[in-house]
């Protein structure tokens, strides 16, 4: 299996592939460099599931250690970030199962919302530009809005839209069907859209220098 050598000698190899191959060959000290770009995402995935910062950090660390211990089983055809996030989700779900009753989990998961959701109509809404994320109060409001979603919506939304897993990967990570992912994702996005649009009415963003009427609806 000259795979690792091939990767190392291939000038087209990305820095990440190179690091993976080196760690797989025993250069353990490079592991942190390999995972550093993803540490925030790993933490966010754990937090989405556990909703407790201390637990999320602990699970993030555990997941990294598990990835380290199993790095030789990682195969190049997978995305490293996805692999890492999936390990994290798995760790977080196991932690939650240990700490909550199985019955509660079961009941919650059976109630997949199939009824139609009618998005609210707003007289005054405009797009929030990405630059607004520089402001802590904006990030905080968005995080609070996300925090109000039911767990099943929040988890799917975080994995798909924040962690950038695809629909199939999200389904696999959470152990639910692709159809459920789509249903929950739709609901999560619409609810967040309503929450953010409603935020204009509540003055969340009123002190921000967005061009008035840039995109009034």
């Amino acid at each position: 299996m000259a795979e690792a050598d091939t990767v190392l000698n291939n000038p087209g190899t990305t820095r990440e592939q190179d690091l993976i191959a080196r760690v797989q060959r025993g250069q353990n000290e490079l592991f942190y460099e390999l995972v550093k770009p993803y540490e925030r995402r790993v933490y966010a995935a754990a937090l989405a599931i556990l909703r407790n910062e201390t637990d999320a950090e602990d699970v993030a660390q555990e997941a990294m250690l598990k990835a380290f211990a199993n790095i030789r089983q990682f195969r190049a055809e997978a995305r490293f970030s996805t692999w890492l996030i999936q390990i994290t989700v798995n760790e977080a779900l196991m932690r939650r199962r240990r700490e909550r009753t199985v019955v509660m989990e079961g009941i919650d998961d059976r109630h997949d919302e199939e009824s139609e959701y009618a998005p609210r109509e707003f007289a005054d809404w405009r797009e929030i530009p990405s630059e607004a994320l520089e402001r802590k109060e904006v990030r905080q409001k968005l995080a609070e809005a996300l925090g109000t979603l039911d767990r099943k919506y929040r988890e799917v939304f975080v994995l798909r839209d924040m962690e950038q897993l695809n629909i199939q990967e999200t389904a696999e990570a959470l152990g639910i069907s692709v159809a459920s992912v789509k249903t929950r994702l739709l609901r999560a996005r619409l609810m967040l859209r309503d929450l953010l649009a409603g935020g204009w009415e509540q003055g969340w963003f009123s002190r921000l220098p967005f061009e008035k009427g840039s995109k009034p609806w």
């Binding site: 025993g26 925030r40 995402r41 250690l65 380290f68 139609e116 990030r139 996005r189």
Partner: protein
């Protein structure tokens, strides 16, 4: 195809995913052109996806990176190694692989070489079967990557310890001994058990493959 607002809302997430067929997409585009409310829902939803997908939305507690790095560094030191952090189930698997591999090695040797090879085999008891090792053309040992006594480095090949043993390579005493010295007591005990099995099978004419 003409669709109403409810149908648009139902598909708006799939629309953003690019997961609607051409006819539906065309119908939705037409609808957005005439329905201000649905256009607002589309833009708002798109805004949500863009905002939350931004790296800046992910914040970690103060000191998170430092604590993570420290914990990984501790683990890397302990496991240097490899493998004290490996799950317990790997230990018996490794022992089994070495047991099988050891048999093949043992059977391929002449009697007078046996004591030396037996020593090699003993040092290998904690090597996980999936560990990547290096072999080179014309040599009979397999090494941990970076071992200073690899010959013919230009003809190196990487494979798993299990594969190396199946091909008849035996562990390099130098790099594998170092590795053995960091093994935990638990690993050592398991190694001793595996060694006992090996010794028993060395006397078994039926044992092994080659």
């Amino acid at each position: 195809m003409v669709i109403n607002c409810e149908q648009v809302w139902h598909e708006i997430s799939n629309y953003l995913e690019g997961d609607v067929d051409a006819a539906l997409r065309a119908a939705m585009d037409e609808h957005f052109g005439t329905c201000k409310r649905c256009a607002s829902v589309l833009e708002g939803t798109r805004n949500v996806v863009r905002l939350y997908g931004d790296e800046r939305m992910i914040e970690v507690p103060a000191g998170f990176s430092r604590r993570l790095e420290k914990r990984l560094a501790q683990s890397a030191r302990v496991s240097s190694k490899p493998w004290s952090t490996w799950s317990a189930w790997l230990v018996p698997v490794a022992a089994l692989a070495l047991f099988v591999g050891g048999l093949r090695v043992a059977n391929s040797l002449t009697g007078e070489q046996r004591p030396v090879q037996s020593e090699h085999a003993q040092t290998g008891h904690n090597i996980p079967p999936e560990m990547l090792v290096v072999v080179s053309a014309g040599a009979k040992l397999f090494h941990a990557p970076g071992c200073g006594v690899i010959h013919n480095k230009d003809k190196e090949r990487t494979l798993t310890a299990k594969e190396a043993m199946q091909e008849g390579y035996v562990p390099c005493l130098r790099c594998m001994r170092k590795y053995m010295e960091t093994a935990t007591a638990g690993h050592a005990a398991l190694g001793a058990e595996a060694n006992a099995d090996l010794d028993a099978d060395d006397d078994d004419p039926q044992g092994g493959g080659r």
